[in-house]
C-alpha cells in the first residue's frame, strides 16, 4: 500500500462532501454525510445493504441528486448547473456492479467513444490510449470482440479501462465484484490494486475485506444513511469503536 504524499495535507481535498442529505419521498436515505477525500487516497466504504452507501457515491457524479448539503469535486461545486455536472462527470470515472458495457459496440469502440466525443480527441490518439489501458488490465487481445463474447471478469476490466480512458481524477467503484463468479473476482481486484498503486484517488463500495485491508487508506462503515465510523483499516478491523461497526464486522468476518 503506497503512502499518500504527506506534503499535500495543506491542499484542499479533491472531494469534499458536507452535510449531504437525500430523501426518496419520505424515506431519508442520506442523513448528513460528511467526507473529505485527499488526492491519491483510497477510501473503501462498507455496510449493510440498504444503508445508502451506493446512493452516496452516486451523488458524487450526479447519478443521484442530493437535496441538501454541498458536494465539491476538484474545486467544482455540484449544483443543478448542467455545465458543472458535465465537467465533474468527465473528471470522475465510475465502474458499476453490472458492468454496463455498450453491447452494440466492440471493446475498442466502448473505450474510445467518450474520449472522442467528450474530450474531442482524434480517433488514433483514443485508440492508442485504449490499447495501452487494455494492456494495463491484461486483456489487449480482446479489443475487437463484443462485450457479449467476454467473461464477467473481462467485461469488468473493460469497464475499468473505459472509465480510465477519460483520464479522470477520481474513480468510483460501486460493488464492482458483486456480480462476478469467485474465480473472476481476483483479476478485477488486482486491476483495482494496480490502479491504487499508481496513485489514483478511489472510492470503493465493496464487501471485499481483503482488498479493504490491503489497499485502502481509510475504511468507512456506512449504516442508516451516514458514516458511522471511518479510519485506517487496522483501526476499523481490529479496534472498532462503535457498537454497530462491531456488530457488522462480527457478521461478515467468519
Amino acid at each position: 500500500m503506497h503512502e499518500i504524499n504527506t506534503n499535500s495535507t495543506n491542499t484542499p481535498p479533491i472531494i469534499s462532501c458536507r452535510d449531504v442529505h437525500k430523501w426518496y419521498g419520505e424515506f431519508h436515505a442520506l442523513r448528513g454525510v460528511n467526507l473529505d477525500v485527499k488526492k491519491g487516497e483510497v477510501v473503501v466504504i462498507m455496510g449493510p445493504s440498504g444503508s445508502g452507501k451506493s446512493t452516496f457515491i452516486r451523488t458524487i457524479n450526479r447519478l443521484e441528486v442530493h437535496q441538501r448539503g454541498d458536494i465539491v469535486v476538484d474545486g467544482i461545486e455540484l449544483t443543478h448547473d448542467v455545465r458543472n455536472i458535465e465537467k465533474i462527470r468527465s473528471e470522475v470515472g465510475m465502474v458499476f456492479q453490472s458492468f454496463n458495457l455498450f453491447p452494440h459496440l466492440t471493446v475498442m469502440e466502448n473505450i474510445t467513444l467518450a474520449p472522442v466525443w467528450v474530450r474531442k480527441w482524434k480517433k488514433e490518439k483514443a485508440e492508442e490510449v485504449a490499447t495501452e489501458l487494455l494492456q494495463r488490465v491484461h486483456i489487449p487481445e480482446q479489443a475487437q470482440k463484443y462485450p457479449g463474447q467476454l467473461s464477467g471478469g473481462q467485461q469488468q476490466r473493460v469497464a475499468i479501462a473505459r472509465a480510465l480512458a477519460m483520464q479522470p481524477k477520481v474513480m468510483l467503484f460501486d460493488e464492482p465484484t458483486s456480480a462476478l463468479d469467485p474465480e473472476m473476482i481476483k483479476e478485477v481486484l488486482e486491476a483495482m490494486s494496480d490502479l491504487a498503486e499508481s496513485g489514483m484517488t478511489m472510492i470503493c463500495v465493496t464487501h471485499e475485506m481483503g482488498f479493504a485491508r490491503n489497499v485502502a487508506h481509510r475504511v468507512g462503515f456506512f449504516d442508516q444513511g451516514n458514516i458511522v465510523e471511518i479510519g485506517p483499516p487496522d483501526q476499523i478491523f481490529r479496534n472498532p469503536e462503535q457498537a454497530r461497526t462491531k456488530q457488522f464486522l462480527a457478521q461478515i468476518l467468519h
Binding site: 458499476f96 453490472s98 452494440h104
Partner: protein, 406 residues
C-alpha cells in the same frame, strides 16, 4: 459372436432424401394424415391455378397495358427518366450487395451468391416474356449495371471504406434525385405533372418517401414523448393519440382538403405531395409508439454508464440508446413498412392512380371486361414480391445484429 460382414442401416437412414421424407412427412400417423391432406390441397388448389395461369388466362390485358400498370400515364418520350432511376437503383443494389450483404457474418457466401445470380437473371428473363414493352436493351442494362456494382464492390478491396461512404451517400440522395428526375426541373428537364404519375411508379414513390420521412419524425415524436418539458410532451402525446385514432383514409382526405387551407392561395401543392404528407404523418405516429417500445427495453444502466462518461443528452441518445432500441424493434419496423407499402393503395380514394387504381381503370376498358382474375393476380404477385423483399431485408438485418451484439 460378431461376424466380419458389414451390416447396412435401413434404406431410410442411408439415403438423405428418404430420411427427410420419413422424418418430416411420414414420422407418425398424424404426420401421414397431414401429408395426405397437404397433397390433396396442392392437387386441388395449386394445380388448377397453375394450369389457369399457363393456359386459360387472357394475359393480353396485362401485356397491352403493361406501361400503364408500371408508370401510369407518364408520357412515353419521358419514360427514359424512369429507366434512369431503375438503372441507378441497380447500381446501388449491386454495390450494396457486394459491400454488405455477401460479407455477412455466418453466411457461407454460396447462398447469397445464388440469390444474387437469380436476381441478375430476372430482368432479362422478364424481357423475354411478351410484356408489351420494347425493353430488352434496358432490362439487360439493369442486370449489367447491377453486376458492375457488385464486381466493383468485391474487387476493389482496398477502397472499401471509400466505396461504403459513396454508396451510403448514394442511397441518401437516391430518392431526392429520383423525385427530381421524375418530376422534372424547370427548363433543364420538362416537368411532368404529377397527375400523370401512376401505377407501380406511384406506389413505390409513395412508399419510399413515406418510409424515409416518417422514420425521423417518428423517432423525434418518441423522444419528445419522454421529454421533461410539458409542452413538448403533451404535444407529442396528443399527436400520436389523435392520428392513431383515425383511419388512414381520413388522414388522406384531411391532407387533400385541409392542407391547402393552411397555405396562401398562390402556393398550390401537388396532389401527390399531399398524399405523401398524409402517409408520412400517419406512419410517424405508429412508428413513435414502436420506437417507444424499443426505448423501454433499454436497461437503466446503459443510460447511467453514458451519463457517467460525460456524454450529453444528444450524444447519449444517438450513440448509445437509439442504436440499441432500433435494433431491438427491427421486426416490428419491417411489419410496419410492409403495411405502409400496401396502405398506399388507399390513395385511389383521393383520385390518385397507384398500382391498384390503374388496375381498376384497365378493367374498365371495353375490350377487357371480365378480366379481373388476370389483372388482380398480376398486381397481387407484384405486391407479394415487394413485401417479401422488405421482409427478407429485415431478416438479414436481424441476423447481422444478432451476431454482433448481445
Amino acid at each position: 459372436m460378431s461376424s466380419s460382414s458389414t451390416v447396412l442401416p435401413p434404406p431410410t437412414e442411408r439415403y438423405a432424401v428418404l430420411r427427410w421424407l420419413k422424418q418430416n412427412l411420414l414420422g407418425s400417423w398424424r404426420d401421414v394424415v397431414l401429408t395426405l391432406l397437404g397433397i390433396y390441397i396442392v392437387v386441388n388448389i395449386v394445380v388448377p391455378v397453375v394450369r389457369w395461369v399457363l393456359t386459360e388466362a387472357n394475359w393480353a390485358v396485362v401485356t397491352t397495358n403493361m406501361r400503364l400498370l408500371m408508370v401510369g400515364q407518364y408520357p412515353i418520350e419521358q419514360v427514359w427518366r424512369i429507366w434512369a432511376c431503375v438503372l441507378l437503383l441497380a447500381l446501388l443494389i449491386g454495390l450494396s450487395w457486394g459491400l454488405w450483404i455477401s460479407k455477412s457474418i455466418g453466411d457461407t457466401g454460396g447462398r447469397s451468391r445464388l440469390v444474387g445470380i437469380i436476381l441478375l437473371l430476372v430482368p432479362p428473363l422478364f424481357a423475354l416474356f411478351p410484356n408489351g414493352i420494347e425493353s430488352l436493351p434496358m432490362l439487360l442494362s439493369v442486370s449489367v449495371l447491377g453486376l458492375i456494382g457488385y464486381l466493383a464492390a468485391t474487387v476493389l478491396t482496398t477502397q472499401q471504406s471509400l466505396l461504403k461512404r459513396l454508396t451510403t451517400l448514394g442511397w441518401i440522395v437516391y430518392i431526392p434525385i429520383c423525385y427530381v428526375l421524375i418530376r422534372g426541373l424547370g427548363d433543364l428537364l420538362p416537368v411532368v405533372s404529377s397527375n400523370l404519375w401512376g401505377g407501380l411508379l406511384l406506389t413505390l414513390l409513395l412508399t419510399a418517401v413515406g418510409i424515409v420521412l416518417s422514420f425521423p419524425l417518428g423517432v423525434l415524436l418518441a423522444l419528445g414523448r419522454r421529454s421533461q418539458l410539458p409542452v413538448i410532451k403533451w404535444f407529442c402525446i396528443a399527436y400520436i393519440e389523435v392520428i392513431r385514432g383515425v383511419p388512414l383514409i381520413t388522414v388522406l382526405f384531411m391532407a387533400q382538403l385541409v392542407l391547402p387551407l393552411f397555405l396562401p392561395q398562390s402556393i398550390e401543392i401537388d396532389r401527390v405531395v399531399r398524399a405523401m404528407a398524409g402517409i408520412t404523418l400517419f406512419s410517424a405516429a405508429y412508428l413513435a409508439e414502436n420506437v417507444r417500445g424499443g426505448l423501454q427495453n433499454i436497461p437503466r444502466g446503459q443510460y447511467e454508464a453514458a451519463e457517467a462518461l460525460g456524454l450529453n443528452a444528444v450524444q447519449k441518445m444517438t450513440l448509445i440508446i437509439l442504436p440499441q432500441a432500433l435494433r431491438i424493434i427491427v421486426p416490428i419496423l419491417v411489419g410496419q413498412f410492409i403495411s405502409l407499402f400496401k396502405d398506399t393503395s388507399l390513395v385511389t380514394i383521393v383520385s390518385l392512380l397507384d398500382l391498384l387504381g390503374i388496375a381498376n381503370t384497365v378493367l374498365a376498358q371495353p375490350n377487357f371486361i371480365g378480366t379481373q382474375r388476370e389483372v388482380y393476380f398480376f398486381i397481387g404477385v407484384i405486391y407479394w414480391l415487394i413485401s417479401y423483399t422488405i421482409s427478407a431485408l429485415g431478416k438479414r438485418l436481424e441476423l447481422r445484429q444478432q451476431m454482433s451484439a448481445i
